[in-house]
Subunit: 393 residues, 2 copies
Amino acid sequence: MNNFIYETPTKVYFGKDEELKVGKLVAEFKPKKVLIHYGGKSAKESGLLDRVKKCLLYENISFVELGGVVANPELKLVREGIKLCIDEGVDFVLAVGGGSVIDSAKDIANGAANPDMDVWDFSLRKCEPVKTLNKGAILTLSAAGSEMSNSCVITNTETGEKRGYGSSLNRMNFAIENPELTYTVNAYQTACGAVDIAMHTIERYFCPGEDTYLTDAIAEAVIKSVMKAGKDCIANPTDYAARANMMWASSIAHNGLTQCGREIQLVVHQFEHEVSGMYPKVAHGAGLAALWCSWARYVYDANINRWLQYAKNVWNLDIDFEHPQKTIEQAIDKQEQYYASIGMPTNLKVLGVKKEDLEKLALGCSRNNSRTLIGYKPLDYEDILKIYEMAYE
Amino acid sequence: MNNFIYETPTKVYFGKDEELKVGKLVAEFKPKKVLIHYGGKSAKESGLLDRVKKCLLYENISFVELGGVVANPELKLVREGIKLCIDEGVDFVLAVGGGSVIDSAKDIANGAANPDMDVWDFSLRKCEPVKTLNKGAILTLSAAGSEMSNSCVITNTETGEKRGYGSSLNRMNFAIENPELTYTVNAYQTACGAVDIAMHTIERYFCPGEDTYLTDAIAEAVIKSVMKAGKDCIANPTDYAARANMMWASSIAHNGLTQCGREIQLVVHQFEHEVSGMYPKVAHGAGLAALWCSWARYVYDANINRWLQYAKNVWNLDIDFEHPQKTIEQAIDKQEQYYASIGMPTNLKVLGVKKEDLEKLALGCSRNNSRTLIGYKPLDYEDILKIYEMAYE
């Protein structure tokens, strides 16, 4: 087991009506002014935004608003948010939305608190924020896990780059998670969320590391639970138990718990960020589903035992010790079938990716052939290109 | 799933040599003076205490010391520690030891920060601390989970009462967990630790709650992992993987993760606190092992399905649907056999408990017949007495 640091300072208020606490929770930070940051019309139409504002007004907290965050949140809106915060003296950012809104809020809080640095440099890992603003989230989508994570992923539409960075400063001070707020998430987005959550866990599970059987067992618990929850949410969008388990899985999968003792890089996420960076209409979860099985088939022979553990503990398969590859391929097939069963793509072509872009994707993912992705089988440019090609159709 | 608040602010530094960071970690709090709090000779003889002091001196941090914490930490030493902190202007408490030392440190930090309140009143839940001192822990025993928990259990030897209280202020700012520091823990204490960790999880698992399948699966992961780790630690005390998984399980089992969405009371712990409160030589884990199976046999019929889930998912038993009780009793037998296999008692008599004290224990546990313990089968004085009697031999 590798040494690790475990840090999950975000205080989670989970359950029905918890968003009504937002005024009091924000008031604890004695903010001068709050930025309410949100996405499109759903937060408005559902009445959630109005309820949030009422809660703040009740506590005499003044605020400004910035909506318009899109899936794959964009640098240009982040810059607008930073300017707004500085001009208005905002010292608390409240995200009302899913992972895109929360990531955008994190980047705004970091940018506004470090006006001498360029916020895109954080994403390029040229420098790190040294301060941030206080921030909280009201979660409306179970997927990215940004509500408890230390990561922040932003897209620069000018360059087509989608880049993530980790920082302790990216942790929300609090997250409010009311599963009922996700009742209106449609089947496709729900499925994308289930994939994202599963993949946060599965990708960590296949990162290098030994003797982490507690972490492994927790990861297996999360993977199986989110697959059940995802399916149940799609079958019945107002199934509270399913929405609740899925929402909590979203936070657990990406807060650090499922990586303790392992060396971490979310490899398939790296592949996917190139895809949705270049094709912003591709939903992140769909991109992951389209890529994962090809990645899995390409890498599994580098650690047969690890993949057999997955086959046995996640898919309950009997191991064929004479032909362990068969068992593993069966498990990968099952994961692929699961993704298909919830309406997710299992190749890139159906997502509209063009064959002639695969090399460009591989160059982006390998940072122009300058980095190798970690794993039991490390992946350089050639490997990455092969996997994109395998995933194409 | 019930609403819940999840709060785990303790930053954990886990792995080999992590204790060498203690100077820097304490220095971040800019303390005027530190109290180093510890137990008996082992921290001294192992050289750990010297290393800790060197790390503090290197950062020019001045400190005072207070050793002498015993298993079932005592109020009188807490009072001594509070006086020392106030007299010396201590504003940071560093616990070097296991759960007893950490609990004692928590109570000292709360007492010293609230000099107008009587510290024992916190345990009696007559009042709550409103402030605390900053505090950290270097863990040397995998058991109580106090390093990440919000709980604090203190024994008043004058009255024979052992009482716990929960508070956000009881959370350590940081915990350093180096599994190698537990290599010298003997087989009996290791077994006691494994029981305590398992029981923190199992007791939460059988608290009332529905639709918490993610929490359940995580709990099952912890239970199975700690049982394996405990056995492996006893077989080979310097098995790093086993010590590491056990140490991490200790923190996970009691930091709140395994209770999310469920109504919580650690019922068997309530039974046990009476026993080791009256018989201070009884190790907490041993007391839990002696009590659990009788409690289990007494209560399981109140929720057959829950116990079948435990039988299936923890013990991998095939369910006998015609005679589900048989499957459940088989599972309880297996848990009992596990405890016996690691050298734990499965009744109170072998622990030296006297038969004539059972009524007194039941009166204590029911607070003189004034409280009912929660659970699928709530337990009043009569029930509690019956369970003590069943557990007697």
